[in-house]
C-alpha cells in the first residue's frame, strides 16, 4: 500500500496525478499562513515583553563585562602578572590603568561601572576607582611614577587582594552571582567557600519562601473550599452575591487591602482591642500579629484566596449533585460521601488553584514588604531590593534564575503527579 515512504512507486495521488500529500499541503497552506498572521502580534508581544527580558536577565546573571570593557589595558597587564612575582603589580599596570581612566573620562564616565562591579567583592573599590580616576584626569602632567601616585590615592591599592579579585573579575563569564545567591563565594584565591555566617541569608530565604508558599496554599484550600462549595451549590441569587464578595478584593487596590490588615492586626488594632475587651489577653500583653510572619501569611492568604476559589468553583460547578446523592443512597454517611466521592472529583480544581497560589506567592513581594516586618520577608523582597536599591542586577537575576528553576521543577512534578491537562482554571 502507498504510505509515507517516497520510494514506494504507489504513492497516493489525486485524480490529476499530484501526490496526495503535496496537494493536501497546498490546500492547507493558506490556512496555516492565516493562522500564523493572527497569532503573530501576540507572539511578537510575548517575545519582546517576556522572553527577551528574561533572557537578558539570565545573561546578566552569568556575565561580568564591566572590568574588561572599561579597563581594557589594565586587564591586559594584569593577565601577564601573577601574585607570586610580587605583592603588587608593576609600574606598567598602573600606567595602563591610568590610560584607561583617561580614555574613559574622554568618552564618558564608565570607569565607575567597573568600580561598582568590584565593590560587591571589595567594599570601597567604587570610591577607590572613582577617586583615583578624578585624581588622574586632573593631573597637568604625568607623574614620575604612576604606581606611587596611584598608591597614594586610596588605601585599597596597597592591598594585594585587590588585584587578585580584579584578576578573577576579568573573566567575562562568572558563576559568582549564582554562588552568592546560594550563600557561597570565591575566596581571594578563587576557591569556592561558604559565606561567613553573618552574610548567609538566601538559602534560608528560599526555604522560607517555599515553606510559606506551601502554608499559604494549604490555608487557601482550607478557607476557599467551603466558599467555593457554597458558590457552586447555593441558589443563583445568593451565589451571585457571594461571588461579588469573593471578587471584590480583586477590584480593590492591593495597598488598601494590605493596609486594612494593619488596622485590624496591629497591637492597638481592632482585633487586639476586641481580644482585650473580651479579656482574652491582657492590655499590656497584646500579641504581635503583624510586621512578622503572621502578617505575611494572613495578608497573602487573603489576597490569593480568589485564585483558589475560582478554579475550585468552576470544577465544583461541573460536579452534579447526583454523585453525592448516589453515594448517600448507596449507604455512605455524609463524611464518607465527601471524602470518597466529592473530594476526589475536585482534585483538578485543587491542583489548579494550588499551582496558581503557590507560584504567585513565591513571587509576591508587596505584601511581605508592607506587613511582613523583618521575619516575614521572602526571597522576592530581596530580588526587588537588589533591583531597586542595591542595583546589583546580576545578583537579582541570579536569585530570580534560581527561583525560576525551582518553579519549573515544581511544575514538572505537578505534571507528573496530577497532570497539567487535568488542570481546570475556569
Amino acid at each position: 500500500m502507498a504510505q509515507s515512504d517516497n520510494a514506494n512507486p504507489e504513492v497516493m495521488t489525486t485524480s490529476d496525478g499530484t501526490p496526495l500529500k503535496e496537494s493536501l499541503r497546498r490546500s492547507m497552506r493558506r490556512n496555516r499562513i492565516k493562522a500564523l498572521l493572527l497569532v503573530a502580534p501576540l507572539g511578537l508581544f510575548i517575545f519582546f515583553s517576556f522572553v527577551m527580558p528574561i533572557l537578558t536577565m539570565m545573561y546578566r546573571s552569568i556575565t561580568n563585562p564591566e572590568i574588561i570593557d572599561h579597563l581594557p589595558r589594565a586587564t591586559a597587564e594584569l593577565r601577564a602578572w601573577t601574585p607570586a612575582e610580587s605583592d603588587l603589580p608593576p609600574e606598567s599596570f598602573f600606567r595602563a590603568i591610568s590610560l584607561d581612566m583617561l580614555t574613559a573620562d574622554e568618552e564618558d564616565r564608565h570607569i565607575g561601572r567597573a568600580g561598582g562591579q568590584l565593590n560587591y567583592e571589595i567594599p570601597g573599590a567604587r570610591s577607590m576607582l572613582g577617586r583615583t580616576g578624578r585624581a588622574v584626569t586632573s593631573l597637568d602632567e604625568p607623574p614620575d611614577s604612576w604606581k606611587d601616585f596611584i598608591l597614594e590615592q586610596h588605601r585599597l591599592w596597597e592591598d594585594p587582594a585587590t588585584y587578585q579579585i580584579m584578576q578573577r573579575q576579568m573573566n567575562p563569564i562568572t558563576a559568582q552571582y549564582y554562588l552568592n545567591a546560594l550563600d557561597f563565594r570565591y575566596d581571594a584565591e578563587g576557591n569556592i567557600e561558604r559565606q561567613p555566617e553573618f552574610q548567609r541569608i538566601y538559602v534560608e530565604l528560599y526555604w522560607r519562601t517555599l515553606w510559606v508558599s506551601a502554608l499559604i496554599t494549604g490555608l487557601t484550600i482550607l478557607l476557599g473550599f467551603p466558599v467555593a462549595y457554597l458558590l457552586a451549590n447555593l441558589p443563583m441569587r445568593i451565589s451571585n452575591l457571594l461571588m461579588i464578595l469573593v471578587l471584590l478584593p480583586f477590584w480593590t487596590s492591593l495597598l488598601v487591602r494590605t493596609s486594612s490588615w494593619i488596622v485590624i492586626l496591629q497591637s492597638q488594632g481592632v482585633l487586639n482591642d476586641i481580644l482585650v475587651l473580651l479579656g482574652v489577653v491582657a492590655d499590656d500583653n497584646r500579641p504581635r500579629m503583624i510586621y512578622n510572619m503572621i502578617g505575611t501569611v494572613v495578608g497573602m492568604t487573603h489576597i490569593l484566596l480568589p485564585f483558589m476559589i475560582l478554579p475550585l468553583y468552576s470544577v465544583m460547578k461541573g460536579i452534579p449533585p447526583s454523585y453525592v446523592r448516589a453515594a448517600r443512597s448507596l449507604g455512605a454517611n455524609p463524611v464518607v460521601a465527601f471524602f470518597r466521592v466529592y473530594l476526589p472529583q475536585t482534585v483538578a480544581g485543587i491542583g489548579a488553584g494550588s499551582i496558581l497560589v503557590f507560584i504567585l506567592s513565591i513571587g509576591y513581594y508587596i505584601t511581605p514588604a508592607l506587613i511582613g516586618g523583618s521575619s516575614g520577608q521572602l526571597i522576592s523582597n530581596f530580588i526587588a531590593y537588589h533591583m531597586q536599591s542595591s542595583l546589583n542586577w546580576s545578583l537579582a537575576a541570579a536569585l530570580g534564575g534560581i527561583l525560576l528553576v525551582a518553579v519549573l521543577i515544581l511544575y514538572y512534578f505537578y505534571n507528573k503527579l496530577i497532570g497539567v491537562d487535568k488542570m481546570k482554571l475556569g
Binding site: R73, D108, Q199, S390, L391
Partner: protein, 364 residues
C-alpha cells in the same frame, strides 16, 4: 594648559569615541523626579511654581525618587532618558556619578553665588560632590510619643537601649545606615568617631552586637510615613524617622510627638541630572531653584534645613501654621551640636556589604 597632556595621551593610546553629547530638549517642559508627599509639595511651592511663572517652562512631576538611581540607570542603559532632573540622596548620587549615569556639575559655573558674592562651592555647607547639588539637610532622628512615658522622657540615643527605664517597642528604619551609628553611640563611642570605628574590621560587629540587644523589640519600617503613624497609634514608644515628617505630625497635626535631637543623623538631599540631560532649561532651573532665596523659601513649607549658609538667616515662619521654623530645623546650631553628620562616602563604599550583612542579621 591642563587639557593638553590629557588629550595627547589619549590620542596616542586609542581612538576616541564621541559619546555623551548632551541633547538639548526642544520641548519647553522638564520632568523632575522627587519623593512625593509633603516634601515634593514644598518643592512645588518654593521652586516649581515660581519657575514656571517666570520662564513659562512646564514642569512635569514624577514621585519616583525612591527608585531614583535604579530608574536613571535603567533609562541610561536603555538609551531613552525621560527624566531631566532627579532628587536623590547624596550616597546614591556618588554611586551614580561613579557609574557614569549622571552628569558632572561644575557648581561655580552653573549655580548662583550668595547675595554677598560668596561662590557656591563655599556657600554650601557640605563638601561638593561631582554630580550633585545639595538642596536641603534633613535628619533621621529619634522621636517618641510623650504620652507613652509617665516619668522621665527619653532624650538621648542610649535611652533607646534602656528598655526598663523607657519601656515600649521601638521602630527603626530597615536599613543599616543610621542604626549602626546609633548602636555605636549607645555603646559609648563618641559621636564624631563613629565612622572611624565602623571603618575598622570589628566596628560593624560591635554595632550589630549592640543592635542584638533590642532586636526583639524593634519593628522595622520602610516608608517615611510609617514612623509618625506608629507613634501616633502608640504601636511603638520610640521611633526613628525623618525630622520633617515628625515636624508635620507634631506641629501641623498636633500629635504628642517629641524629637530627640541627640544623635540625629544629618544627611543631605539634592539634585542630579541624568547623563545627557544637562540642557539650557535644566541649567536654568538648577540655577534658580538653588539660589539663596529659594532654598530659604522651601523651609517655609517643610522643616528641612537649607543647604546654603547664606539661606539660614532668611528662614522665617511656617507658611501654614505661622510657627517659627528655626528651632525645628535640623541645622539649628543646638541640634547640629548634638548630631552626627552622615559620611556619604562611607555609605557609598560600604553600603552594599553592610546592607547584605544587615539583611542577613535581620533574617536570623
Amino acid at each position: 594648559m591642563k587639557h593638553t597632556f590629557k588629550k595627547t595621551t589619549v590620542a596616542s593610546a586609542a581612538a576616541v569615541g564621541l559619546m555623551g553629547v548632551p541633547s538639548v530638549g526642544f520641548a519647553d517642559s522638564l520632568t523632575i523626579v522627587s519623593w512625593g508627599g509633603a516634601y515634593e509639595e514644598s518643592q512645588r511651592r518654593a521652586y516649581y511654581e515660581p519657575f514656571m511663572e517666570m520662564t513659562g517652562i512646564d514642569i512635569v512631576q514624577e514621585s519616583r525618587s525612591a527608585e531614583g538611581l535604579a530608574g536613571v540607570r535603567a533609562q541610561v542603559e536603555a538609551g531613552n532618558v525621560t527624566w531631566d532632573i532627579v532628587d536623590m540622596l547624596e550616597p546614591d548620587s556618588m554611586r551614580g556619578c561613579d557609574d557614569g549615569v549622571l552628569e558632572v556639575i561644575d557648581h561655580d559655573e552653573i549655580l548662583k553665588p550668595a547675595p554677598d558674592g560668596t561662590p557656591p562651592t563655599e556657600d554650601f555647607v557640605l563638601p561638593m560632590r561631582d554630580c550633585y547639588i545639595p538642596q536641603i539637610l534633613y535628619s533621621t532622628a529619634l522621636a517618641y510619643n510623650s504620652e507613652a512615658f509617665d516619668g522621665e522622657e527619653p532624650s538621648r540615643v542610649e535611652h533607646v537601649w534602656e528598655m526598663d527605664e523607657f519601656p515600649g517597642r521601638r521602630s527603626l528604619r530597615r536599613v543599616p545606615a543610621g542604626n549602626l551609628e546609633w548602636a555605636l553611640v549607645a555603646d559609648g563611642v563618641p559621636r564624631d568617631e563613629v565612622y572611624d570605628v565602623l571603618m575598622t574590621r570589628d566596628g560593624p560587629e560591635r554595632a550589630f552586637a549592640k543592635l542584638d540587644e533590642i532586636k526583639d523589640d524593634v519593628l522595622w519600617w520602610t516608608e517615611g510615613a510609617q514612623p509618625p503613624q506608629l507613634l501616633a497609634d502608640r504601636e511603638v514608644a520610640i521611633a526613628s524617622g525623618y525630622n520633617g515628617r515628625f515636624f508635620n505630625a507634631q506641629v501641623v497635626e498636633d500629635q504628642p510627638i517629641e524629637i530627640i535631637w541627640h544623635g540625629q543623623v544629618l544627611e543631605s538631599d539634592g539634585w542630579v541630572v541624568p547623563q545627557g540631560k544637562l540642557s539650557e532649561d535644566v541649567r536654568q532651573f538648577l540655577r534658580f531653584a538653588t539660589d539663596t532665596q529659594r532654598l530659604a523659601d522651601q523651609a517655609k513649607y517643610i522643616a528641612y534645613g537649607p543647604a546654603r549658609a547664606s539661606s539660614a538667616a532668611m528662614v522665617g515662619d511656617h507658611a501654614d501654621t505661622g510657627v517659627d521654623m528655626a528651632p525645628h530645623m535640623p541645622t539649628h546650631p543646638d541640634h547640629i551640636e548634638v548630631g552626627i553628620l552622615q559620611d556619604a562616602e562611607f555609605w557609598a563604599d560600604m553600603g552594599d556589604t553592610l546592607e547584605e550583612r544587615f539583611s542577613s542579621w535581620l533574617a536570623r
